[in-house]
Symmetry: C2
Subunit: 212 residues, 2 copies
């Protein structure tokens, strides 16, 4: 398998964790988002969505991090990234989607660049935007994890899974922008538990070969 | 089943389509987003994420539209919203996530309200933001659908499914903001095919009891 990614991409980080949790080896291919390599024709031909990550498996290209994680789950079921029971599976997916749909899209590189260039926002204003959506989204995540049954050692039960694959990269991003994470003790307890595991530790941006 | 939703919520629209495609009856509960009813304590106790839609089934509450659709697929497999083969399933999910993660979050009510209130953007500027992200996201969706194998009568193959559940509400939103959709002929061909089906037609915002 070949993973097209970028050390700082939160979505690529999710897939690195999933591959590591399942013990799957992959060849990394580095697409430098800062240099706009994802918008070059060579990559656009391969992946018309023009985003990272993308995973090549058996000559087929898979896109969108959560679709890739579901694919890995279906093709390499063990160790599982999702629990067995439908309600628990739905809860794990809901926590993953809360990060992927409600927090990350508002704070990714493309969005911040648009705020700077098209809206003329200063760095201070861009940082305020970033922190606003972290506070908004992390409060929802903390409430969901603290107030609904299912949280265990990890986001869903006592095995690391799809929700943790999303939670950990989002916390890394928040820390990078120096957001106050004290109001989210359940999120941070799970983050700390995940970071004890080699699969998460090895996947972190600073440990990738393309890290700057 | 009881569906907490709002006629204009794109994410609730996705779930209405999915329930209709599977022939599942539900009792609608209306949460008026414009009046902030999703932020009231009564709803927050039920759904700590404070978002719509939410689906109550057998006394359990499910949240996040795509997690709800996956749950319906697992608990009521036929008619299927996903194909059988893992690569095709991944492609269908990727197209759904392209809408749910790359387009919709930038243009939902919460984001537009923040642009108005915190950033002091005028209605004209908010509309420009909206159309920018529609153009950016729809170009990606058109490219993915036109340039990768799998598109049939619908987004993935010849049966309506999870990607169509996301595509149709997003096109409705774009039309409401008078975005030019001519550059996306594949998207619009699939949209038109979907709208021939009763399951999509009945789910549209203007046909809901809480429509204004």
């Amino acid at each position: 398998m070949r993973l097209y990614g970028y050390f700082r991409s939160s979505a690529a980080f999710r897939v690195r964790i999933g591959l590591n949790l399942k013990g799957l080896a992959y060849e990394p291919v580095f697409i430098h988002l800062g240099k706009g390599e994802h918008r070059q024709p060579a990559y656009g031909t391969l992946n018309p969505q023009g985003l990272v990550p993308a995973l090549e498996d058996g000559g087929k290209l898979l896109t969108q991090s959560l679709a890739i994680l579901e694919y890995l789950e279906e093709t390499h079921p063990l160790p599982a990234l999702l629990p067995n029971e439908p309600i628990a599976r739905a809860r794990a997916r809901s926590l993953a989607l809360l990060v992927a749909c409600e927090i990350h899209p508002l704070n990714n590189l493309r969005t911040l660049t648009h705020l700077r260039k098209a809206l003329g926002q200063s760095e201070e204003q861009v940082n305020a935007w970033y922190r606003h959506w972290i506070a908004d989204g992390m409060a929802k995540l903390e409430a969901a994890m603290a107030q609904t049954a299912g949280t265990g050692k990890y986001s869903q039960g006592d095995a690391p899974g799809i929700a943790d694959c999303c939670l950990v990269p989002q916390v890394f991003n928040a820390q990078r922008y120096r957001c106050d994470l004290a109001p989210y003790p359940t999120v941070m307890r799970v983050f700390d538990a995940c970071m004890q595991l080699d699969a998460f530790d090895r996947a972190q941006p600073g440990k990738q070969p393309d890290a700057e």
